[in-house]
Amino acid sequence: MKIYGVAILASCYFAGLILGEILSNIFNIDGNLGGVGFAMLFLILLSDWLKKKNLFHVEYESGIGFWTSMYIPIVIAMASIQNVHAALSSGAVAVVAGTVVTSLCFFLIPVLTKLTKKNAEQ
Protein backbone atom coordinates (compact mmCIF):
# COMPACT_ATOMS: atom_id res chain seq x y z
CA MET A 1 0.00 0.00 0.00
CA LYS A 2 1.50 3.28 -1.16
CA ILE A 3 -0.39 5.22 1.49
CA TYR A 4 1.79 3.58 4.18
CA GLY A 5 4.80 5.24 2.59
CA VAL A 6 3.02 8.58 2.53
CA ALA A 7 2.01 8.06 6.16
CA ILE A 8 5.63 7.32 7.13
CA LEU A 9 6.61 10.55 5.36
CA ALA A 10 3.85 12.45 7.18
CA SER A 11 4.94 11.09 10.56
CA CYS A 12 8.53 12.25 9.95
CA TYR A 13 7.19 15.61 8.77
CA PHE A 14 5.28 16.17 12.00
CA ALA A 15 8.07 14.86 14.23
CA GLY A 16 10.48 17.30 12.58
CA LEU A 17 8.18 20.31 12.69
CA ILE A 18 7.21 19.69 16.31
CA LEU A 19 10.89 19.40 17.30
CA GLY A 20 11.52 22.65 15.40
CA GLU A 21 8.72 24.38 17.32
CA ILE A 22 10.02 23.10 20.65
CA LEU A 23 13.54 24.33 19.86
CA SER A 24 12.29 27.75 18.81
CA ASN A 25 10.42 27.97 22.12
CA ILE A 26 13.48 26.94 24.12
CA PHE A 27 15.71 29.49 22.38
CA ASN A 28 12.96 32.09 22.34
CA ILE A 29 13.13 32.75 18.60
CA ASP A 30 9.97 33.08 16.53
CA GLY A 31 9.40 30.56 13.80
CA ASN A 32 10.43 26.96 13.42
CA LEU A 33 14.07 26.12 14.00
CA GLY A 34 15.16 23.57 11.43
CA GLY A 35 11.93 21.56 11.43
CA VAL A 36 12.20 20.59 7.76
CA GLY A 37 15.82 19.53 8.20
CA PHE A 38 14.97 17.40 11.25
CA ALA A 39 12.09 15.83 9.32
CA MET A 40 14.49 14.86 6.52
CA LEU A 41 16.90 13.41 9.04
CA PHE A 42 14.09 11.37 10.62
CA LEU A 43 12.99 10.07 7.23
CA ILE A 44 16.53 8.91 6.40
CA LEU A 45 16.91 7.21 9.79
CA LEU A 46 13.44 5.63 9.83
CA SER A 47 13.58 4.34 6.26
CA ASP A 48 17.10 2.98 6.82
CA TRP A 49 15.96 1.20 9.95
CA LEU A 50 12.85 -0.22 8.26
CA LYS A 51 14.92 -1.39 5.29
CA LYS A 52 17.33 -3.20 7.59
CA LYS A 53 14.40 -4.92 9.30
CA ASN A 54 13.00 -5.78 5.85
CA LEU A 55 9.82 -3.91 6.67
CA PHE A 56 10.18 -1.29 3.97
CA HIS A 57 8.07 -2.37 1.01
CA VAL A 58 8.85 -1.16 -2.54
CA GLU A 59 5.31 0.22 -2.66
CA TYR A 60 6.09 2.57 0.25
CA GLU A 61 8.97 3.93 -1.74
CA SER A 62 6.76 4.76 -4.72
CA GLY A 63 4.26 6.50 -2.42
CA ILE A 64 7.03 8.76 -1.13
CA GLY A 65 8.56 8.95 -4.61
CA PHE A 66 5.46 10.65 -5.97
CA TRP A 67 6.03 13.58 -3.62
CA THR A 68 9.70 13.69 -4.55
CA SER A 69 8.72 14.05 -8.19
CA MET A 70 6.30 16.86 -7.26
CA TYR A 71 9.08 18.82 -5.57
CA ILE A 72 10.21 20.79 -8.64
CA PRO A 73 6.63 21.55 -9.83
CA ILE A 74 5.87 22.80 -6.32
CA VAL A 75 8.96 25.04 -6.36
CA ILE A 76 7.77 26.48 -9.69
CA ALA A 77 4.31 27.14 -8.23
CA MET A 78 6.04 28.73 -5.22
CA ALA A 79 7.95 31.07 -7.55
CA SER A 80 4.69 32.18 -9.17
CA ILE A 81 3.15 33.33 -5.88
CA GLN A 82 6.00 35.62 -4.79
CA ASN A 83 5.84 39.36 -4.28
CA VAL A 84 7.93 40.10 -7.36
CA HIS A 85 7.07 43.81 -7.60
CA ALA A 86 8.48 44.51 -4.15
CA ALA A 87 11.58 42.42 -4.83
CA LEU A 88 12.32 43.90 -8.23
CA SER A 89 13.58 47.20 -6.83
CA SER A 90 16.25 45.34 -4.85
CA GLY A 91 16.84 42.55 -7.36
CA ALA A 92 20.53 43.36 -7.72
CA VAL A 93 21.31 41.82 -4.32
CA ALA A 94 19.99 38.46 -5.57
CA VAL A 95 22.10 38.52 -8.73
CA VAL A 96 25.24 39.71 -6.94
CA ALA A 97 24.87 37.29 -4.01
CA GLY A 98 24.22 34.34 -6.33
CA THR A 99 27.09 35.22 -8.66
CA VAL A 100 29.69 36.00 -5.99
CA VAL A 101 28.93 32.93 -3.88
CA THR A 102 28.90 30.54 -6.84
CA SER A 103 32.11 31.91 -8.38
CA LEU A 104 33.96 31.61 -5.07
CA CYS A 105 32.62 28.07 -4.63
CA PHE A 106 34.32 27.08 -7.89
CA PHE A 107 37.63 28.22 -6.38
CA LEU A 108 37.01 26.15 -3.26
CA ILE A 109 36.66 22.88 -5.14
CA PRO A 110 40.33 22.43 -6.19
CA VAL A 111 41.37 23.05 -2.58
CA LEU A 112 39.16 20.24 -1.33
CA THR A 113 39.84 17.87 -4.22
CA LYS A 114 43.56 18.16 -3.48
CA LEU A 115 42.73 16.91 -0.02
CA THR A 116 40.93 13.88 -1.50
CA LYS A 117 43.98 13.05 -3.59
CA LYS A 118 46.30 13.27 -0.60
CA ASN A 119 43.88 11.08 1.26
CA ALA A 120 43.85 8.51 -1.52
CA GLU A 121 47.64 8.43 -1.68
CA GLN A 122 47.88 7.74 2.01
Binding site: L9, Y13, G16, F27, D30, G31, L33, G34, G35, V36, G37, A39, M40, L41, L43, I44, S47, D48, I64, G65, W67, T68, M70, Y71, I72, P73, I74, V75, I76, A77, M78, A79, S80, I81, Q82, N83, V84, H85, A86, A87, S90, G91, V93, A94, V95, A97, G98, V100, V101, T102, L104, C105, F106, L108, I109, P110, L112, T113, K114, N119
Partner: protein
Protein backbone atom coordinates in the same frame (compact mmCIF):
# COMPACT_ATOMS: atom_id res chain seq x y z
CA UNK B 1 -20.65 30.75 -20.92
CA UNK B 2 -17.11 32.05 -20.32
CA UNK B 3 -18.15 32.92 -16.79
CA UNK B 4 -19.32 29.36 -16.26
CA UNK B 5 -16.04 27.84 -17.46
CA UNK B 6 -14.05 30.29 -15.37
CA UNK B 7 -16.06 29.19 -12.37
CA UNK B 8 -15.02 25.59 -12.94
CA UNK B 9 -11.35 26.62 -12.85
CA UNK B 10 -11.79 28.81 -9.76
CA UNK B 11 -13.60 26.07 -7.86
CA UNK B 12 -10.93 23.51 -8.77
CA UNK B 13 -7.93 25.77 -8.24
CA UNK B 14 -5.45 23.13 -7.06
CA UNK B 15 -6.19 20.85 -10.00
CA UNK B 16 -5.85 23.78 -12.39
CA UNK B 17 -2.44 24.53 -10.88
CA UNK B 18 -1.30 20.97 -11.78
CA UNK B 19 -2.30 21.65 -15.36
CA UNK B 20 -0.69 25.06 -15.39
CA UNK B 21 2.65 23.95 -13.91
CA UNK B 22 2.66 20.98 -16.28
CA UNK B 23 2.26 23.29 -19.27
CA UNK B 24 4.91 25.68 -17.88
CA UNK B 25 7.40 22.82 -17.54
CA UNK B 26 6.57 21.55 -21.02
CA UNK B 27 7.32 24.96 -22.52
CA UNK B 28 10.52 25.53 -20.51
CA UNK B 29 11.84 22.01 -21.16
CA UNK B 30 11.35 22.65 -24.87
CA UNK B 31 13.08 26.04 -24.66
CA UNK B 32 15.92 24.50 -22.65
CA UNK B 33 16.53 21.78 -25.24
CA UNK B 34 15.91 23.66 -28.47
CA UNK B 35 16.76 27.29 -27.80
CA UNK B 36 19.36 27.04 -25.03
CA UNK B 37 20.83 23.68 -26.14
CA UNK B 38 20.70 22.34 -22.56
CA UNK B 39 22.98 25.15 -21.39
CA UNK B 40 20.31 26.42 -19.00
CA UNK B 41 18.29 23.70 -17.24
CA UNK B 42 14.54 23.62 -17.78
CA UNK B 43 14.05 23.84 -14.01
CA UNK B 44 15.81 27.22 -13.82
CA UNK B 45 13.82 28.50 -16.79
CA UNK B 46 10.57 27.27 -15.24
CA UNK B 47 11.31 29.06 -11.95
CA UNK B 48 12.14 32.23 -13.89
CA UNK B 49 8.85 31.85 -15.80
CA UNK B 50 7.09 31.41 -12.44
CA UNK B 51 8.65 34.63 -11.16
CA UNK B 52 7.59 36.44 -14.36
CA UNK B 53 4.01 35.16 -13.93
CA UNK B 54 4.11 36.37 -10.32
CA UNK B 55 4.59 39.86 -11.75
CA UNK B 56 1.02 39.78 -13.11
CA UNK B 57 -0.37 39.67 -9.59
CA UNK B 58 0.29 41.74 -6.51
CA UNK B 59 1.76 40.81 -3.12
CA UNK B 60 0.73 37.16 -3.46
CA UNK B 61 1.91 36.89 -7.03
CA UNK B 62 -0.33 35.31 -9.60
CA UNK B 63 -2.54 33.76 -6.92
CA UNK B 64 -4.06 37.23 -6.43
CA UNK B 65 -5.98 36.51 -9.64
CA UNK B 66 -8.93 34.25 -8.74
CA UNK B 67 -8.39 31.71 -11.56
CA UNK B 68 -4.83 31.11 -10.39
CA UNK B 69 -5.56 30.97 -6.67
CA UNK B 70 -4.73 27.24 -6.66
CA UNK B 71 -1.06 28.08 -7.20
CA UNK B 72 -1.02 29.34 -3.61
CA UNK B 73 -2.05 25.87 -2.43
CA UNK B 74 0.41 23.95 -4.60
CA UNK B 75 3.26 26.39 -3.94
CA UNK B 76 2.33 27.05 -0.30
CA UNK B 77 4.58 26.15 2.61
CA UNK B 78 2.72 22.96 3.56
CA UNK B 79 3.08 21.04 0.30
CA UNK B 80 6.52 22.53 -0.32
CA UNK B 81 7.91 21.35 3.02
CA UNK B 82 6.24 17.96 2.62
CA UNK B 83 7.77 17.47 -0.84
CA UNK B 84 11.25 18.57 0.20
CA UNK B 85 11.22 16.16 3.15
CA UNK B 86 10.32 13.33 0.76
CA UNK B 87 13.53 13.91 -1.23
CA UNK B 88 15.52 12.67 1.77
CA UNK B 89 14.49 9.10 0.92
CA UNK B 90 17.09 9.07 -1.87
CA UNK B 91 19.83 9.77 0.64
CA UNK B 92 21.30 7.08 2.82
CA UNK B 93 24.01 7.42 5.44
CA UNK B 94 25.74 4.33 4.09
CA UNK B 95 26.35 6.15 0.80
CA UNK B 96 27.86 9.14 2.50
CA UNK B 97 29.99 6.89 4.71
CA UNK B 98 31.42 5.30 1.60
CA UNK B 99 32.33 8.74 0.31
CA UNK B 100 34.28 9.34 3.50
CA UNK B 101 34.99 12.31 5.69
CA UNK B 102 35.95 14.57 2.80
CA UNK B 103 32.37 14.48 1.45
CA UNK B 104 30.99 15.32 4.89
CA UNK B 105 33.57 18.08 5.28
CA UNK B 106 32.66 19.52 1.88
CA UNK B 107 29.00 19.67 2.94
CA UNK B 108 29.73 21.71 6.04
CA UNK B 109 32.28 23.94 4.31
CA UNK B 110 29.93 24.43 1.35
CA UNK B 111 27.00 25.53 3.50
CA UNK B 112 29.01 27.72 5.87
CA UNK B 113 30.92 29.32 3.01
CA UNK B 114 27.80 30.15 0.97
CA UNK B 115 25.98 31.40 4.04
CA UNK B 116 28.88 33.65 5.16
CA UNK B 117 29.57 35.17 1.74
CA UNK B 118 25.83 35.55 1.11
CA UNK B 119 25.50 37.35 4.46
CA UNK B 120 28.30 39.75 3.58
CA UNK B 121 26.68 40.59 0.25
CA UNK B 122 23.29 41.13 1.94
CA UNK B 123 24.89 43.40 4.55
CA UNK B 124 26.74 45.21 1.76
CA UNK B 125 23.37 45.92 0.13
CA UNK B 126 22.15 47.54 3.33
CA UNK B 127 20.20 44.73 5.03
CA UNK B 128 20.57 45.03 8.80
CA UNK B 129 18.03 42.62 10.30
CA UNK B 130 19.10 39.04 10.92
CA UNK B 131 15.91 37.63 9.32
CA UNK B 132 16.57 39.23 5.92
CA UNK B 133 20.32 38.58 5.96
CA UNK B 134 19.84 34.91 6.90
CA UNK B 135 17.17 34.39 4.23
CA UNK B 136 19.21 35.91 1.39
CA UNK B 137 22.30 34.03 2.58
CA UNK B 138 20.32 30.77 2.70
CA UNK B 139 19.10 31.52 -0.83
CA UNK B 140 22.70 31.43 -2.01
CA UNK B 141 22.81 27.84 -0.69
CA UNK B 142 19.89 26.75 -2.90
CA UNK B 143 16.60 28.20 -4.12
CA UNK B 144 14.75 25.97 -1.66
CA UNK B 145 16.86 26.57 1.45
CA UNK B 146 16.21 30.33 1.10
CA UNK B 147 12.40 30.22 1.27
CA UNK B 148 12.40 27.46 3.90
CA UNK B 149 14.70 29.52 6.11
CA UNK B 150 12.71 32.67 5.30
CA UNK B 151 9.41 31.10 6.35
CA UNK B 152 10.99 29.51 9.42
CA UNK B 153 12.39 32.79 10.73
CA UNK B 154 9.51 34.98 9.50
CA UNK B 155 11.22 37.03 6.80
CA UNK B 156 9.23 39.33 4.50
CA UNK B 157 7.86 37.97 1.22
CA UNK B 158 10.07 40.42 -0.69
CA UNK B 159 13.22 38.97 0.86
CA UNK B 160 12.01 35.41 0.26
CA UNK B 161 11.57 36.26 -3.43
CA UNK B 162 15.14 37.58 -3.53
CA UNK B 163 16.42 34.38 -1.94
CA UNK B 164 14.73 32.28 -4.65
CA UNK B 165 16.25 34.52 -7.32
CA UNK B 166 19.72 34.17 -5.78
CA UNK B 167 19.33 30.40 -5.83
CA UNK B 168 18.26 30.44 -9.47
CA UNK B 169 21.32 32.53 -10.38
CA UNK B 170 23.43 29.84 -8.71
CA UNK B 171 21.76 27.06 -10.74
CA UNK B 172 22.36 28.90 -14.00
CA UNK B 173 26.02 29.67 -13.24
CA UNK B 174 26.77 26.13 -12.02
CA UNK B 175 25.15 24.62 -15.11
CA UNK B 176 26.99 26.84 -17.58
CA UNK B 177 30.42 26.86 -15.99
CA UNK B 178 30.78 23.32 -14.66
CA UNK B 179 31.58 21.74 -18.06
CA UNK B 180 33.89 24.65 -18.93
CA UNK B 181 35.84 24.54 -15.66
CA UNK B 182 35.67 20.81 -14.93
CA UNK B 183 39.25 19.97 -15.87
CA UNK B 184 40.72 23.04 -14.23
CA UNK B 185 39.09 22.31 -10.89
CA UNK B 186 39.97 18.62 -11.09
CA UNK B 187 36.41 17.41 -11.50
CA UNK B 188 37.25 14.09 -13.09
CA UNK B 189 36.17 11.19 -10.90
CA UNK B 190 33.40 10.16 -8.53
CA UNK B 191 35.19 11.41 -5.42
CA UNK B 192 35.65 14.89 -6.78
CA UNK B 193 32.05 14.81 -8.07
CA UNK B 194 30.92 14.15 -4.49
CA UNK B 195 32.99 17.07 -3.22
CA UNK B 196 31.54 19.20 -6.01
CA UNK B 197 27.97 18.29 -4.99
CA UNK B 198 28.82 19.03 -1.38
CA UNK B 199 30.25 22.47 -2.10
CA UNK B 200 27.67 23.64 -4.64
CA UNK B 201 24.68 21.89 -3.10
CA UNK B 202 22.13 22.97 -5.67
CA UNK B 203 20.86 19.60 -6.90
CA UNK B 204 19.41 20.85 -10.18
CA UNK B 205 22.54 22.84 -11.06
CA UNK B 206 24.93 20.07 -9.99
CA UNK B 207 23.02 17.40 -11.92
CA UNK B 208 22.75 19.51 -15.07
CA UNK B 209 26.37 20.70 -14.87
CA UNK B 210 27.74 17.20 -14.30
CA UNK B 211 25.55 15.78 -17.06
CA UNK B 212 27.18 18.20 -19.49
CA UNK B 213 30.62 17.20 -18.16
CA UNK B 214 30.34 13.43 -17.78
CA UNK B 215 27.07 11.53 -17.33
CA UNK B 216 28.73 8.96 -15.07
CA UNK B 217 29.41 11.59 -12.41
CA UNK B 218 25.78 12.72 -12.00
CA UNK B 219 24.64 10.28 -9.28
CA UNK B 220 27.72 11.01 -7.13
CA UNK B 221 27.21 14.77 -7.23
CA UNK B 222 23.46 14.41 -6.74
CA UNK B 223 23.80 12.36 -3.56
CA UNK B 224 25.92 14.91 -1.68
CA UNK B 225 23.77 17.73 -3.07
CA UNK B 226 20.68 16.05 -1.58
CA UNK B 227 22.43 15.86 1.78
CA UNK B 228 23.42 19.50 1.37
CA UNK B 229 19.78 20.58 1.02
CA UNK B 230 18.75 18.61 4.10
CA UNK B 231 21.67 19.79 6.19
CA UNK B 232 21.21 23.40 5.08
CA UNK B 233 17.47 23.29 5.89
CA UNK B 234 18.52 22.03 9.31
CA UNK B 235 21.35 24.37 10.25
CA UNK B 236 20.42 27.62 8.46
CA UNK B 237 17.34 28.33 10.59
CA UNK B 238 18.45 26.51 13.75
CA UNK B 239 22.14 27.39 14.17
CA UNK B 240 23.25 29.99 11.64
CA UNK B 241 20.24 32.31 12.03
CA UNK B 242 20.49 32.53 15.86
CA UNK B 243 24.26 33.11 15.55
CA UNK B 244 23.64 35.88 13.04
CA UNK B 245 21.03 37.34 15.36
CA UNK B 246 23.54 37.46 18.21
CA UNK B 247 26.07 39.15 15.94
CA UNK B 248 23.70 41.74 14.50
CA UNK B 249 22.03 42.88 17.72
Amino acid sequence: MIRMIEDVFVKNGLIFSFLLVGVMMLITEYLSKRVFKNKIPGVALAIILGLILAGFGKEKGISNIAVFSGMAVLGGTMLRDFAIVSTALGASFDEIKKAGWIAVLSLFIGILFSFCIGSFVAIGFGYHDAKSIATIAAGTCTFIVGPITGNAVGASSEVITLSIAAGVVKVVIVTIFTPLLAKRIGLVDKNTAMVFGGIMGTTSGVSAGLAATDMKLVPYGAITATFYTGLACLICPSILFPLLKLLTV
